[in-house]
């Protein structure tokens, strides 16, 4: 597991303190991530129990704040009764709209922007995580892995040499990883349109790399593990540093008439992160055990990938950067980017950490 500097100092008297906030524009890799003390911000139970239903595509480590908040009773402390259903992001959107779901979790894929563009009320209210070593390709992690033999100098891989090669992907350039990939390609002078997409599910992408069906693949946790120490493959691009590319999305009710419940929900998430998931949480057997129980994975499997940096904050410009690429690639069905103000609402987590 790895670790990242954490904002210290809690202002006495405040429910969390200055450490609970950071400048949204700051995307420095070494930037301290927002944190409060263990157990903070303290619960402020709602007058009446509110039932909420949230969707997640999978029960995996990266969604641990939601899972642990439920299993550790943090929602209960807020007088929230949260039900978690397993449903892919795209399928959950109609249910949010029809009120079957109060919110959903996911990443900034093209579908989110298309949905908002179609007046589907969906608001990004909290971030989720980023890998601890993001932006450091020297460390094996989630990112774009490529066959070493593609490059003349594997030590300093020139992405331009990926031109015309095959990229394994389960959705194509509509997911949130489009942005980091596109940036990496652009900085090497080629476009994502210069590679050929081979549609293959995430779980099978390593197989595809091995049998030649693909030359490269964006491997998410834990699929990069089998080739982490394989000298035939090299990591050429990673997720950007300090910038969650997804998180929690609220439907119209939570943003509107049930706003108090929305704040309580985010407060419980933030408290869960501070209490169980801060720093190198994988060194705490109890936390690993809790994650294992809620995700159904084994403790070893969880420890196989480094501790994630859970970050509830939303960086300024993330939605713009994602949209830029989707617009450029024609993956969204509108022409001018939607303003961040229509997509993001940071007031939930600021209210949570500031005790409002």
């Amino acid at each position: 597991g790895g670790g990242t500097p954490v904002a210290e100092s809690t202002v006495a008297g405040s429910p969390c303190g200055a450490g609970g906030r950071s400048d949204p524009a700051n995307r420095d890799a070494k930037r301290p991530v927002a944190r409060c003390d263990k157990g903070l911000p303290g619960p402020r139970p709602l007058p009446q129990t509110v039932k909420l239903r949230f969707a997640t595509a999978v029960k995996a480590e990266f969604i641990a704040p939601l899972l642990l908040a439920q299993s550790k009773g943090e929602f209960q402390k807020e007088n929230l009764d949260v039900e978690i259903v397993v449903l892919p992001f795209a399928d959950s959107v109609p249910q949010v709209l029809s009120g079957n779901l109060d919110g959903t979790t996911g990443s900034l894929e093209a579908g989110f922007f298309n949905a908002v563009n179609k007046d589907i009320d969906l608001t990004w209210v909290a971030g989720n995580f980023y890998p601890p070593d993001a932006a450091d390709p020297a460390k094996a992690q989630t990112g774009l892995w490529a066959r070493k033999s593609l490059f003349t100098d594997p030590a300093k891989p020139d992405l331009a040499q990926l031109k015309g090669k095959k990229l394994a992907s389960n959705v194509g350039f509509t997911s949130s990883t489009t942005y980091p990939m596109a940036e990496a390609f652009k900085s090497n002078g080629i476009s994502v349109n210069d590679v050929e997409i081979v549609k293959i599910p995430s779980a099978d992408q390593v197989t595809a790399l091995k049998n030649g069906a693909a030359d490269m693949a964006w491997l998410v946790d834990p699929y990069w593990l089998p080739i982490a120490n394989d000298s035939n493959y090299v990591l050429v691009a990673t997720q950007p540093a300090g910038e969650p590319l997804g998180g929690f999305f609220f439907g119209p009710a939570l943003v509107g008439e049930k706003r108090a419940a929305g704040v309580a929900f985010v407060r419980a998430l933030v408290r869960t992160i501070n209490t169980y998931l801060a720093g190198d949480y994988q060194s705490d057997p109890a936390a690993v055990q809790a994650i294992a129980e809620t995700t159904g994975a084994t403790a070893e499997a969880i420890k196989g990938t480094p501790s994630l940096v859970f970050d509830w904050e939303i960086r300024a410009g993330t939605t713009q950067r994602e949209q830029d690429w989707f617009l450029q690639l024609g993956r969204v069905d509108y022409k001018t980017a939607i303003a961040e103000s229509e997509l993001v609402d940071r007031s939930f987590y600021t209210d949570a950490v500031e005790g409002r």
Partner: protein
């Protein structure tokens, strides 16, 4: 005699007269065919109109479920942008190839297992178990064996179709009335002749039920496979529309898939009728 009269009054009369079909068979058949056509086209049309009305009235949220007119419009757009045609072609090629290969191998196994009990005994449990193995979960195996590109997609379709045709053919073979076989024995038919002239035609109607079922299955599995594999095809169109929430595209894909399935099924049934001219001979009641 009063009692006699009473008995007469009690008599029931039953009339056997020509029906409309007998009086003007050709006209009646034409009418029937027209009625069938009207009903067959009318019911879906009616549903579409109801759907449209529901959308227009706002009972259905148009953002999530596009109206029939929206779908037609989107389809027109996609057609003009040439984004539907290549996917349709790709899907047709895959499903056609997979269907033909899967049916051929399935029929082969079905025949062999239907005719020889030891083969049946040996393979039935194994194939029965393999039947329900989720083929998509074995994707790595398929990718390893068939590499990439069209081959694993076609193979997945073929493998799925295989099981349906296998079961239908085997059941049909086993169900052939023994009388037919017995007559064949006295005609000194060789195994091949017995198969060609007796077992196959006797089993054909049931095999064609299997072929019809498998036609639908091949389209279904095609879409399922294209959801995850192969970056084009109707399944891809649907899936892409879904994940990017361009739902018009998704519904266009669904409608096209449904039409493909309909045409496929009709074609299989037509071939069946051509191959089995005897199946309608002598039928009198069934026409009504």
């Amino acid at each position: 005699m009063p009692s006699q009269t009473l008995t007469r009054a009690e008599r029931q009369r039953i009339l056997r007269t020509p029906g409309r079909h007998e009086l003007a068979p050709e006209r009646w058949m034409r009418l029937l065919r027209l009625r069938d056509l009207a009903l067959g086209a009318g019911v879906p049309l009616l549903l579409a109109v109801l759907w449209q009305v529901a959308c227009d009235a706002g009972w259905i949220d148009r953002r999530l479920y596009p109206s029939p007119l929206d779908i037609i419009r989107t389809a027109g757009d996609m057609w003009q942008r040439d984004t539907l045609w290549p996917d349709l072609l790709a899907s047709l090629r895959r499903t056609g190839l997979g269907y033909v290969i899967g049916s051929a191998v399935g029929a082969l196994f079905g025949v062999a297992m239907g005719l020889w009990r030891p083969i049946r005994a040996a393979l039935d449990p194994l194939l029965n178990a393999l039947y329900t193995v989720p083929k998509l979960a074995l994707l790595p195996v398929f990718l390893t064996v068939f590499g990439f590109g069209e081959l694993p997609v076609v193979a997945l379709i073929a493998v799925t179709v295989f099981f349906f045709i296998w079961i239908s053919t085997m059941s049909a073979m086993v169900a052939v009335p023994e009388g037919y076989r017995e007559a064949g024995v006295t005609l000194n038919l060789s195994t091949w002749q017995m198969f060609r002239h007796v077992m196959l035609p006797a089993a054909l109607p049931e095999i064609f039920v299997g072929l019809r079922i498998a036609a639908g299955v091949s389209v279904l599995i095609l879409v399922g496979v294209e959801f995850v594999l192969g970056g084009n095809g109707l399944g891809h169109v649907i899936e892409q529309g879904r994940t990017t929430l361009v739902l018009g595209q998704t519904y266009v894909g669904i409608v096209v898939v449904a039409l493909v399935g309909l045409v496929f099924s009709v074609v299989v049934q037509l071939i069946g009728r051509l191959l089995m001219p005897w199946s309608r001979a002598g039928s009198v009641m069934r026409q009504l």
